[in-house]
């Protein structure tokens, strides 16, 4: 197991966002987390990378319970992880190339020439080689997501977390992002956790799909089992509220 959550609860003030979450994700696996807005998907993702701490329970990444680590120890774990944010979260004062190079400049002893070579390679992977000197505000939403992905894979992490990578994109661009996620998983053998509303995307990229409903995991199956689930809540979600 590369990621393991044991009896995780998370509350904000008196509101319980996540209730008794138990989840294991294998090395090289792609898990999609689906669920309605406000069901706790993004909070679950933030717990996995230490942006939020659980109210109780354990969050194991490889051999470390990150819920117990201090910030410096957590940073060492995070070097092995990447994240693609819902709104890309690119540093708007830096060029595309500087965004991708950021982690390498901060945490490696590579020369500028070596960093430049890696940046070019990663931008090439996401099809944005010619946009290295653009500023983030000059890019479309889909391009920003791709830069965010290039930035996440620059350090060649073992785990990549995606927070709604296809939201707000047209179907063609969403398809491109899905292909990139799949390509990254196949080429770099990363373990991916993808929070999404997009069922086509979830079916395409995921080995398993977990559905969260009111803070609880109510289904954890492969795509076929989810499609044929007898749970009314699952059927309602995957059919967009139109139960057939």
């Amino acid at each position: 197991m590369l990621i393991k959550l044991i009896d995780v609860n998370k509350s904000f003030k008196d509101y319980k966002v996540l209730k008794n979450i138990n989840l294991s994700i294998n090395k090289g696996e792609t898990l999609a987390i689906i669920g309605a807005s406000g069901s706790g998907k993004s909070t679950l993702l933030k717990l996995m990378i230490g942006l939020e701490r659980p109210s109780s329970g354990q969050v194991w990444i490889k051999n470390e319970d990150i819920a117990k680590l201090n910030e410096e120890e957590l940073d060492k774990v995070r070097l092995n992880m990447g994240m693609v944010f819902q709104y890309s979260a690119l540093f708007d004062s830096m060029t595309v190339a500087d965004n991708v190079a950021f982690g390498l400049r901060e945490h490696s002893s590579l020369t500028e020439a070596e960093i430049g070579h890696i940046v070019e390679e990663k931008l090439n992977t996401v099809g944005l080689k010619d946009f290295a000197n653009y500023m983030p505000n000059e890019l479309s939403g889909g391009m920003k997501k791709r830069v965010s992905l290039a930035r996440a894979i620059a350090f060649e992490p073992e785990i990549i977390l995606y927070d709604e990578p296809t939201s707000g994109l047209d179907p063609v661009m969403a398809g491109k992002i899905d292909k990139l996620i799949k390509y990254t998983q196949e080429k770099m053998h990363v373990t991916s956790v993808v929070v999404t509303h997009d069922m086509d995307s979830a079916y395409y990229i995921a080995d398993r799909i977990a559905m969260i409903y009111e803070g609880e995991i109510i289904a954890l199956e492969d795509a076929h089992a989810i499609k044929t689930s007898s749970d009314k809540r699952v059927q309602e979600f995957i059919n967009g509220g139109r139960i057939i």
């Binding site: 933030k46 942006l51 070097l79 990447g82 690119l90 708007d92 950021f102």
Partner: protein, 254 residues
């Protein structure tokens, strides 16, 4: 009872805010053990210091002129025109220079720091820093604190010179000769009149940086959150500058 509750919650709010400033200051000092990249510090120095120079020059030029304008006729009445250069320069060096430069910088630099950091917060850029194993305080606050602590005294030096120059322009207009003006500066002004002002500037610089960063890092969501944070940052920094100036004046010039 209602009044007591209101007073109590006001005091608690003030204590919570100032506690937050102090905690951020200590967290920032803790992060200073690792030397920050000079490139980031120099960027902030240029952005926060050099770009503020024109407004500081204008403010201090007119302040020096107005102070002289208000005092020169009275001094001439009592035959004390030979002291005007010293009086204006001491006033500028000890109080007006550091305080007005501090207030101008709180408005321009403090608001800019808060707006930038709060925008980064609401667009998840600060989360992105953390995800990339980069401590936001080390990356964002430390360079701004150093830049403000270095650049504010430099701005005060320019402000003092231009303020005194403004005084000379008006004194000349009232037939106080340049020689007399300079002579009075030489006679009355001691180096401590300036160094005290520079010490104040270092303190004011750190106040502006810490308060600006605190409100930026703790901004609420959305455009409204950014606007509120910037306003609070400027108001609190200006109040803190006046408050600390009083104590520093007592300490430095008693």
């Amino acid at each position: 009872m209602f009044i007591l509750e209101a007073v109590g919650s006001f005091v608690l709010r003030i204590l919570e805010t100032w506690g937050g400033f102090i905690i951020l200051l200590f967290q920032t000092l803790k992060q200073c053990k690792r030397i920050p990249r000079m490139r980031y510090v120099l960027q902030q120095m240029a952005h926060l210091g050099v770009d503020t120079l024109p407004i500081v020059m204008l403010t201090m030029l007119f302040t020096g002129m107005v102070v002289t304008l208000q005092t020169v006729t009275e001094f001439i009445k009592f035959g004390a025109q030979s002291t005007i250069g010293g009086v204006v320069t001491i006033a500028v060096g000890r109080e007006l220079g550091p305080v007005l430069v501090g207030v101008v910088a709180a408005g321009r630099v403090g608001a800019a720091i808060t707006a930038e950091l709060s925008t980064m917060k609401v667009t998840e850029q600060i989360d992105a820093l953390e995800v990339m194993a980069t401590n936001p305080i080390r990356y964002l606050v430390v360079p701004r604190l150093i830049a403000c602590m270095v650049m504010l005294p430099l701005l005060v030096v320019f402000g003092d010179v231009i303020g005194s120059f403004g005084g000379w322009v008006i004194a000349n207009y009232y037939d106080v000769s340049s020689f007399m003006y300079m002579q009075s500066i030489n006679s009355f002004v001691v180096i401590h009149d300036f160094t005290g002002g520079l010490i104040k500037a270092v303190v004011f610089g750190s106040i502006i940086a810490i308060i600006g960063c605190y409100y930026g890092l703790n901004a609420g969501n959305g455009a409204e959150g950014v606007g509120k944070a910037a306003t609070k940052s400027v108001v609190d920094a200006i109040m803190a500058i006046f408050f600390f100036n009083c104590f520093l004046s007592l300490l430095l010039y008693r």
